[in-house]
């Protein structure tokens, strides 16, 4: 079973490596544009205070990780379950179907972590001077990154197994866009204080815990959710989406 699991993983790594350049562009271009416009143009021209750079950076990392993890799992799963049934060979591998789903989550996590690790220095470079990062708790940061990566790939699996090829556009505009814009990526949660309903409604959005958690770990000088709350929220959503994703995968795989 271990051999089969790693062979499945090796297959995903092999395919990801082959598509490395488009994959990198797909996951990094959008965050980099955001970083440049919000973190550089708006701040240098004086429309935004310089501190905004530091406030924005953790949100951008969370956003890149979540987007890349979701795309890394959802897109292939959607196409492999299509009428070509490309995934069938892996479903017939001598391993329980659930482990095929777990492997998908695992491979997506790795991609999300790589995206986060690449975005961090790159964004820092693009923003130029004035980014005030500190990392008082590196272990907390590492833990949060793992939780965010797991969140993104398990959401990817859930969406990938629930959405058909024709609904991909809909998935982006109906699920991902609100998740990003109400995910405290561009502003801290405390900025919603004047919107009492929204303030509590966004707590149902797992993205909030990702952005706020990383904000607490990287730029604790800004207001943020307590780290324990962020980590707790992430753990709960991880459990929810891992179990949901695996269940949806089984439904798709076995008739």
């Amino acid at each position: 079973m271990r051999k089969t699991f790693f062979a499945l993983f090796a297959r995903d790594v092999h395919v990801a490596r082959r598509n490395f350049v488009p994959l990198i562009l797909q996951t990094l271009l959008q965050p980099m544009l955001l970083v440049f416009v919000f973190g550089r143009v708006l701040t240098t021209s004086g429309f935004m205070p310089m501190q905004y750079k530091s406030l924005l950076l953790p949100g951008i990392i969370a956003l890149s990780m979540v987007l890349s993890g979701i795309q890394a799992v959802a897109m292939p799963v959607i196409s492999e379950f299509q009428f070509t049934r490309e995934i069938e060979d892996r479903l017939l591998a001598p391993i329980e179907i659930e482990w095929v789903a777990v492997e998908k989550i695992f491979a997506g996590m790795i991609q999300a972590l790589i995206a986060g690790l690449v975005v961090l220095p790159l964004a820092w470079l693009v923003m130029g001077r004035g980014v005030d990062l500190s990392m008082p708790h590196p272990f907390l940061f590492a833990l949060l990154c793992l939780l965010v990566a797991l969140l993104s790939s398990s959401i990817g699996l859930t969406l990938g197994c629930s959405v058909g090829q024709t609904q991909i556009g809909l998935m982006f505009s109906l699920v991902l866009a609100p998740m990003i814009f109400f995910g405290c990526t561009y502003y801290p949660w405390s900025a919603l204080a004047k919107f009492p309903i929204l303030k509590y409604a966004v707590l149902a959005n797992p993205m909030v815990y990702a952005s706020e958690g990383l904000r607490g770990a990287l730029v604790p000088q800004f207001p943020h959710l307590p780290s324990a709350v962020a980590a707790g929220g992430l753990i709960l959503f991880d459990i929810l989406f891992v179990s949901l994703g695996i269940r949806q995968f089984q439904r798709k795989a076995v008739h």
Binding site: M1, K3, T4, A7, L8, A10, R11, H14, V15, R18, N19, F83, T84, R85, E86, I87, E88, D89, R90, L91, L92, A93, P94, I95, E96, I97, A253, V254, H255
Partner: protein
């Protein structure tokens, strides 16, 4: 040691659209009932298998024969762990399929009806990764892949992505992949659909020699010729049940007369049917469709002029005559009143 396969009272009712097997029409047949649940949402129920009991002997080539939508692919789906039976049980060797899926997956190889190759990989990589899923270690894995690519005449395209492959090449590669881990049971779902005649012969050769090495093979087909030539025993499946099981020769021997002469004419009177049946050599004359008559006889061609004369004399206009020799096709016709291609 070859292993056998057994199914007991298999039943499968789909409440969601079943995995598409045949492209185009008629995925799964059987009675379809649309009923109202709480007066609102329509729920579909498709009975794909209805009490299917079968036994495949160790080491034989076994054919599942039936028209599109008879339940052949569903049977294969259940036997290959991909479809959960609604009721009944199945065994591959000593392993019960649904309760020991991983053990079963180790013993079987599956060639799907439509190639489901991994489009992100090259032909060789498909075989190598498939081998890796089954825990075959490296030097052995490479050697097997090389040999299979050669056997299936794919060596010159081995290192290209399969996206650009022709249908026949994909089909050959699917079969090679299914053999990569040397399964004890090989399932082939309509293997020769879409293959040119030479490739079909190559495929049959390969299947026979794989069988000769002591492996059990299950083939589904709606092609009589294939079942007749390739299979030691055949089950005829219709509406999710097995309606007959035996060697092709045994099955053919049960058709009255052996020959079937299908005539289209009008008007078709009961007197004319009686006159046909009274002809020497005719066993049965049965009405089929609005204007058809199926005459079961021990002769074919020589009987045609006599039957035509009878028809003309009764004032009927004949539009078509078709003579078929003893075959499984006739057998199917005899048992279901429908041609396999209907």
């Amino acid at each position: 040691m070859a292993i056998g396969i057994r199914t007991e009272h298999l039943r499968k009712v789909f409440s969601t659209p079943p995995p598409s097997a045949a492209p185009g029409r008629g995925i799964v047949g059987g009675p379809m009932t649309g009923r109202n649940v709480r007066g609102k949402s329509q729920r579909i129920e498709i009975v794909a298998l209805d009490d299917l009991t079968l036994e495949v002997e160790p080491g034989e080539i076994f054919g599942l024969l039936g028209p599109n939508g008879a339940g052949k692919s569903t049977t294969l789906g259940v036997l290959t762990t991909r479809i959960r039976p609604t009721a009944g049980r199945a065994w591959i060797g000593g392993d019960e399929v649904w309760t020991s899926r991983v053990a079963v997956k180790r013993r079987i190889g599956v060639v799907p009806q439509r190639p489901n190759l991994d489009f992100s990989l090259t032909a060789r990589e498909i075989l190598l990764f498939h081998g890796a899923y089954f825990g075959i270690a490296n030097p052995e894995r490479g050697a097997r892949a090389r040999k299979l690519l050669e056997t299936f005449q794919l060596t010159d395209r081995a290192d290209q992505l399969v996206v650009g492959f022709s249908g026949g090449m994909m089909q050959r590669l699917s079969i090679a992949r299914a053999m990569m881990h040397e399964p004890e049971v090989l399932f082939l779902d309509e293997p020769s659909a879409g293959l040119d005649p030479q490739t079909r012969l190559l495929l049959w050769e390969i299947v026979r020699s794989y069988n000769a090495r002591g492996n059990t093979i299950v083939v589904t087909t709606h092609n009589m010729e294939e079942a007749d030539d390739l299979c030691r025993r055949v089950a005829i499946v219709d509406h999710g049940r097995s309606i007959a099981l035996g060697t092709p020769a045994d099955l053919k021997a049960t058709i009255p007369g052996g020959y079937v002469i299908r005539i289209q004419l009008s008007p078709r009177t009961p007197e004319l049917l009686a006159a046909f049946a009274a002809e020497t050599g005719v066993q049965q004359a049965l009405a089929n469709g609005p204007n058809g008559v199926d005459v079961y006889a021990d002769r074919g061609g020589p009987l045609v002029p006599e039957l035509l004369q009878l028809a003309v004399r009764s004032g009927a206009r004949v539009t078509d005559v078709h003579v078929s020799e003893p075959s499984l096709e006739n057998f199917f016709l005899h048992h279901t009143g429908r041609s396999l291609r209907d």
